[in-house]
C-alpha cells in the first residue's frame, strides 16, 4: 500500500521497542465484544488506474458540460474561474495545512485569511468578517442566533423569499434555541411584503435576501427603517454576492449583519459543496460573532504578523459557553474567494456584475418577445422568474430533452408558481447561446 510506508522489518522493530508481541497486542484493551466479526464488506483495494477509470466514468456520466446546458442558479452559480487561481489553490502548503493554531508556522494561511476578511468586509461595506462558516445557510442561521444572543429576544422575522433551503436550515438551527420564526409573504412585484412586519414586536432580527430567491432586488432600505424602529437587527443575506459589484452594499443600506454564500466568488459548484459561509458585521459585535477570526499583531521583534484571535469565543476554550460550535470551517474556500476578488479588483467586479445583469436582461426580454411571461416586476440581477408560453411545463420538458435545463421549477417551493421557472444567466452564457434558447422556446409556440 503506497500510502503506508512501514516495511515488515520496521513494524517488527517498532513492536519490539514498545514491548508488544504483535499488532493485535496494541488492541488488547478493546473488549472482545466490541470487535468486528469480520472485516467490513467493502470493495477494493483498487489500483490508482482502476480508480481513475471509475471516477472518470462517473464524472463523464453527469449532465455537465459538453452538449449539456443549464440556466440554473438558485444558490449555486456557474462563473468563470481563472486557471491561475486553481493552480495557486492547489499548492500543498495551503491544502495540506490545518487550522493555524501555531501562528509562526502558518503565516501563509493567516495572512491569506486576514486579507479575505478585509476584502469581503470592504466588498459588503461592513467592518469585520470572520474567517468563514460552512455555507450561506448556516451563516444566516448563525446570524439570527447572534442577534438572539445580543438582543435576548426570542422572535425573528424572515422574508419568505429567502432561499427555501436557507429557511429550512434556519429552522433546524433555531428550533432548539426556542426562537420563533415569522415568515413575511411576498408582494406582487416579487419583493418581500413588509406590511406584516409593522405589527410584529419583540423581534431579535429581521432577515432579508437580496437579490432574493426570485432574483428580485429587495428594498433593503425600507426594511432597515422598520427594523431599526423596532431595535431589531437587520440581517441581509445573499446567495449571489456578485450582485454587490453593482448594487449598494449591505453595509451602506444599514445591515447589522451581512451574511451568505460565497461560492459565486470563484469557487466551483461541486454539486453544492464545499461552499463558503460569509459572515460580516460591525466591530461592536465582534465578541458575539461566531467562528474563527484572524487578527493582526506583531512578533517579539515588532514585525507585523497574524494570529487566530478572540479565541475566548470559541468552543475549544469556552466549551459550552462558546458563541458557536464551529471548528473546521471553509478556509480554503475563503482563500479562493479572496483570490477571485483580488483578480477582479473594484472596476473588474463592477464590469462583471454589469455583464451578468445585462445578459440576464437580454434573455428575459428575448423570452418575453417570444411570448414568455414574467410574473414579477421588480428589478433583478442575474436571475429572474419566467413562465413559458402555452403549456409551460411541456416547453420546459422539451428543452430538457434537448439537454437544456431552462431554470429551476418553482412549483415544489411555491405551488402558486406552478409552470414558473427561476432562470439564471451569468457571463458564461453567450448571446448566441441565448438566441438559440429563445428560438427553441419560440418554435414551441
Amino acid at each position: 500500500m503506497r500510502y503506508l510506508p512501514h516495511t515488515e522489518e520496521e513494524i517488527a522493530d517498532m513492536l519490539e521497542a514498545i514491548g508488544a508481541d504483535g499488532r493485535d497486542d496494541l488492541f488488547a484493551f478493546v473488549p472482545q465484544a466490541c470487535r468486528v466479526g469480520q472485516l467490513p464488506d467493502i470493495p477494493g483495494p483498487v489500483t490508482e488506474w482502476e480508480l481513475r477509470t471509475h471516477m472518470a466514468r462517473v464524472s463523464g456520466s453527469m449532465g455537465v458540460g459538453g452538449s449539456y446546458g443549464s440556466y440554473l442558479g438558485a444558490g449555486r452559480y456557474d462563473h468563470y474561474i481563472p486557471a491561475f487561481i486553481s493552480a495557486l489553490l492547489d499548492r500543498s502548503e495551503f491544502t495540506t495545512a490545518y487550522t493555524p493554531y501555531q501562528a509562526e508556522i502558518s503565516q501563509g494561511t493567516l495572512q491569506g485569511i486576514y486579507e479575505f476578511q478585509t476584502l469581503i468586509s470592504r466588498f459588503l461595506g461592513m467592518e469585520v468578517a470572520n474567517a468563514s462558516l460552512y455555507d450561506g445557510a448556516s451563516a444566516l442561521a448563525e446570524g439570527l442566533l447572534m442577534a438572539h444572543r445580543i438582543t435576548r429576544r426570542k422572535r425573528v422575522a424572515l422574508s419568505g423569499i429567502i432561499h427555501p433551503h436557507y429557511r429550512q436550515v434556519v429552522r433546524s438551527y433555531l428550533r432548539p434555541a426556542g426562537v420563533e420564526m415569522m415568515e413575511l409573504p411576498w408582494q406582487e412585484d416579487g419583493r418581500t411584503d413588509l406590511s406584516g412586519l409593522r405589527e410584529a414586536d419583540d423581534l431579535a432580527a429581521v432577515a432579508v435576501q437580496s437579490p432574493n430567491f426570485f432574483g428580485c432586488i429587495e428594498d433593503v432600505i425600507s426594511m432597515g427603517a422598520i427594523s431599526s424602529e423596532k431595535e431589531a437587527f437587520l440581517i441581509t443575506c445573499f446567495t449571489e454576492p456578485l450582485a454587490y459589484g453593482l448594487l449598494p452594499s449591505p453595509g451602506s443600506q444599514g445591515a447589522h449583519i451581512a451574511c451568505g454564500e460565497g461560492q459565486s466568488l470563484g469557487i466551483p459548484m461541486s454539486y453544492g459543496g464545499p461552499g463558503l459561509g460569509i459572515f460580516t458585521t460591525w466591530r461592536d459585535y465582534v465578541r458575539q460573532m461566531p467562528g474563527r477570526v484572524v487578527g493582526k499583531t506583531s512578533d517579539a521583534q515588532g514585525k507585523q504578523g497574524f494570529v487566530l484571535t478572540l479565541a475566548t469565543r470559541e468552543q475549544h476554550i469556552r466549551r459550552e459557553k462558546a458563541t458557536s460550535n464551529i471548528c473546521t470551517n471553509s478556509s480554503l474556500c475563503a482563500l479562493n474567494a479572496a483570490m477571485y476578488m483580488a483578480a477582479l479588483g473594484g472596476p473588474g467586479i463592477r464590469e462583471l456584475a454589469q455583464l451578468n445583469h445585462d445578459k440576464a436582461v437580454y434573455l428575459r426580454q428575448g423570452l418575453q418577445q417570444v411570448g414568455c411571461s414574467i410574473p414579477f416586476d421588480a428589478p433583478t440581477f442575474n436571475e429572474f422568474v419566467v413562465a413559458f408560453p402555452g403549456a409551460s411545463q411541456e416547453v420546459y420538458g422539451r428543452l430538457l430533452e434537448k439537454k437544456v435545463v431552462a431554470g429551476l421549477p418553482l412549483a415544489p417551493y411555491a405551488p402558486d408558481l406552478k409552470g414558473n421557472y427561476l432562470m439564471c444567466v451569468t457571463e458564461t452564457k453567450s448571446k448566441s447561446d441565448m438566441d438559440e434558447l429563445i428560438a427553441q422556446v419560440g418554435e414551441t409556440v
Binding site: C34, E104, S249
Partner: protein, 485 residues
C-alpha cells in the same frame, strides 16, 4: 520591502494585497460583451467596490510567497493531536476536479446526476459497513455540524416520545466541540469525570444518569487517546434510563477494521472525513462530518436523503420526523468524493492496516519519549498519546515554549493544552503515514529540546528562531482586535 536583505532563505517578504495594487490592473480575463449595457435605476447602484487592482503576475507571486510561509503535511510531519494529519493522496484531489464533479450544479435534474448520487449512496453504505451502523447522512459540513445533527436527532427522538430531557452528560475527555454542540441544541451539559486511568467509569455515569438526561456524548477513542473500555456498560446504563449514546467518532482512525462501533452500543456516531478518510484540511477546512445511526434513529436523519428506487437514485424530502435540513444542499460533496476514492483505494484490509499502523506509531513515540516527557497516563494508547510539561516546569519551560521550538527543528508542533484534563498537555498524533525514519527524527528533535530545556531554557522561551517571524503576541491581538486592514 526588499531594500533590506531578508533573513529567511528562499522565503520572500510580501505586503498585503491592497498595498500592492495599482489602479488600472486586472488579473481577470473579462469576457467579451456581446449584449447591450442596460442601466439599473440609480438608487440600485452602489459605490464602486473598494477592491485592490492587481495583475495576474502580482497575484501569482503574492500567493506563491504566502504559501512558502506555511507548513503542510507535504512539508513534513504534522503530529497535531486530535486532527489526524495523514497524507492526502494527490489522485483523490485530481479526481474531485473532474468536470462532471466540480462543474455539477446541485439542482440538476436527478436523471442528469445519477453518477454522483450513486457515488454518495455507495459512500453512505461504505461508512455504514466500516462502522457497523445502519444508516448514514453525509450532509454535515464538518465534525461539529455532525455533532449538532446528532444532538438534534436525540432531541427529536425524545420529543417524538413526548419526553423532555434538558440535560446531557459530557465527560471531561470529550472534545471541546461536544459541549458547544449540545448547548447549541438546547441541552445543558453535565460533566462526568474520567478516572485516574483516563477512563470513563460506569459508576461515574450511573451516578448522574437519570430520566431528565437525554443521553451522553462520548468521544471514543477519547481525547487522551484511549479506547473507552467500559463503553458497553456505559451504554447499557444510559439506555436503561431511556437515554441515547452519542459517540464522537472523529478518532476513528485508531480502530477501523478492529472495532465495530455498533457493537459498542452507541446510537449516533459522527465521523470526520477530513481526518480519517484523508481529505486535505485546507488550512482549516472544508471538511465533512457524516453521521451514522442505528436503525431506530434513521427516521430522524436530515433531509434530503439519498435514496435508491429500482435502479434510480434520487433525493427525498419525504421524511416527516426528520430534524430538517442542515446544509443549503447536500454537504461538502467535493470532500466526499475524495473519501470515497480513499476507501476504494485502501480496501478493508488496507483500512485496518492503516489503523494498526496509526496505533503502532503513537505507541512507538510514547515509549521513546516517556523518559524525557512526563506521561500522565502510562498505558498502551491508541492513535495518539498525551504528555505534559511537568518535567520541564522546574526549568520554567512550558509546553508552549517546546511547541514553538519544535518549529525550528522542522516539525509542526503537536496539539497543546488539550485535552484540558491534563495540565500543560502535549498531544501527539503521528498518523500511520509517517514512517519510522520520520518518527525517529521527531523523537530525536523532542529529546534535543528536552536537553535544551535543562541547559539553555532561554533558547526555548524565545523560540521560534528560524522562521519568518519570531513568537507572535497573541495577547496584543486579542486586546485590540484588528481584523481587517
Amino acid at each position: 520591502m526588499t531594500q533590506k536583505p531578508s533573513d529567511m532563505g528562499m522565503t520572500q517578504e510580501e505586503s498585503l494585497l491592497w498595498e500592492k495594487g495599482k489602479a488600472g490592473r486586472c488579473a481577470f480575463s473579462m469576457p467579451q460583451r456581446d449584449v447591450d449595457r442596460v442601466q439599473l435605476p440609480s438608487d440600485l447602484i452602489g459605490d464602486l467596490p473598494d477592491l485592490p487592482e492587481l495583475s495576474e503576475v502580482d497575484l501569482v507571486r503574492h500567493y506563491t510567497r504566502l504559501s512558502q510561509w506555511n507548513f503542510g503535511i507535504d512539508t513534513g510531519m504534522y503530529p497535531l493531536g486530535s486532527c489526524t494529519m495523514k497524507y492526502n493522496p494527490k489522485v483523490n484531489d485530481h479526481c474531485a476536479q473532474f468536470q462532471g464533479f466540480a462543474g455539477a450544479h446541485p439542482l440538476l435534474p436527478v436523471e442528469w446526476a445519477q453518477g454522483v448520487l450513486r457515488l454518495l449512496f455507495r459512500l453512505e453504505r461504505l461508512l455504514a459497513a466500516i462502522t457497523g451502523m445502519d444508516a448514514v447522512t453525509l450532509q454535515p459540513a464538518a465534525g461539529a455540524q455532525g455533532e449538532l445533527v446528532g444532538m438534534l436527532m436525540i432531541r427529536a427522538y425524545h420529543h417524538a416520545r413526548n419526553e423532555n430531557r434538558p440535560t446531557i452528560l459530557v465527560p471531561d475527555t470529550a472534545h471541546g466541540t461536544n459541549p458547544a454542540s449540545a448547548t447549541l441544541c438546547g441541552f445543558k451539559p453535565v460533566g462526568v469525570k474520567s478516572n485516574e486511568a483516563g477512563m470513563l467509569t460506569p459508576q461515574a455515569v450511573a451516578e448522574v444518569m437519570d430520566e431528565q438526561t437525554a443521553g451522553i456524548m462520548v468521544t471514543n477513542p477519547n481525547t487522551l487517546g484511549f479506547f473507552e473500555e467500559h463503553i458497553q456498560e456505559i451504554c447499557h446504563i444510559v439506555h436503561e434510563k431511556g437515554g441515547l449514546v452519542y459517540c464522537d467518532g472523529a478518532n476513528l482512525n485508531a480502530i477501523m477494521g478492529v472495532v465495530d462501533m455498533a457493537k459498542t452500543g452507541v446510537d449516533v456516531l459522527h465521523l470526520n472525513l477530513h481526518k480519517t478518510f484523508s481529505s486535505p484540511h485546507g488550512g482549516g477546512g472544508p471538511g465533512a462530518g457524516p453521521v451514522c445511526v442505528k436503525e431506530r434513529l434513521e427516521p430522524f436523519l436530515p433531509i434530503p436523503r439519498i435514496i435508491k428506487e429500482k435502479d434510480q437514485y434520487g433525493l427525498s424530502e419525504r421524511s416527516p420526523r426528520s430534524v430538517g435540513r442542515i446544509h443549503a444542499f447536500y454537504g461538502n460533496v467535493g470532500v466526499m468524493i475524495r473519501a470515497y476514492a480513499y476507501i476504494l483505494t485502501m480496501g478493508a484490509e488496507g483500512l485496518r492496516k492503516a489503523s494498526q499502523m496509526a496505533v503502532l506509531n503513537a505507541n512507538y513515540v510514547k515509549e521513546r519519549l516517556k523518559a524525557d516527557f512526563h506521561l500522565p497516563y502510562d498505558r498502551v494508547c491508541m492513535h495518539e498519546c498525551v504528555f505534559s510539561d511537568q518535567y520541564q516546569r522546574p526549568h520554567k519551560v512550558t509546553t508552549l515554549d517546546m511547541a514553538k521550538r519544535l518549529m525550528d527543528y522542522g516539525f509542526h508542533p503537536p496539539t497543546v493544552y488539550f485535552p484540558l484534563v491534563v495540565n500543560g498537555a502535549i498531544m501527539v498524533e503521528p498518523t500511520e503515514t509517517e514512517s519510522k525514519d520520520e518518527l525517529d527524527h521527531f523523537i530525536a528533535a523532542c529529546r534535543a529540546i528536552a536537553r535544551e530545556a535543562e541547559t539553555d531554557p532561554r533558547l526555548l522561551l524565545k523560540a521560534p528562531h528560524q522562521l519568518k517571524l519570531r513568537r507572535l503576541d497573541e495577547t496584543l491581538a486579542a486586546r485590540r482586535p484588528c481584523l481587517t486592514g
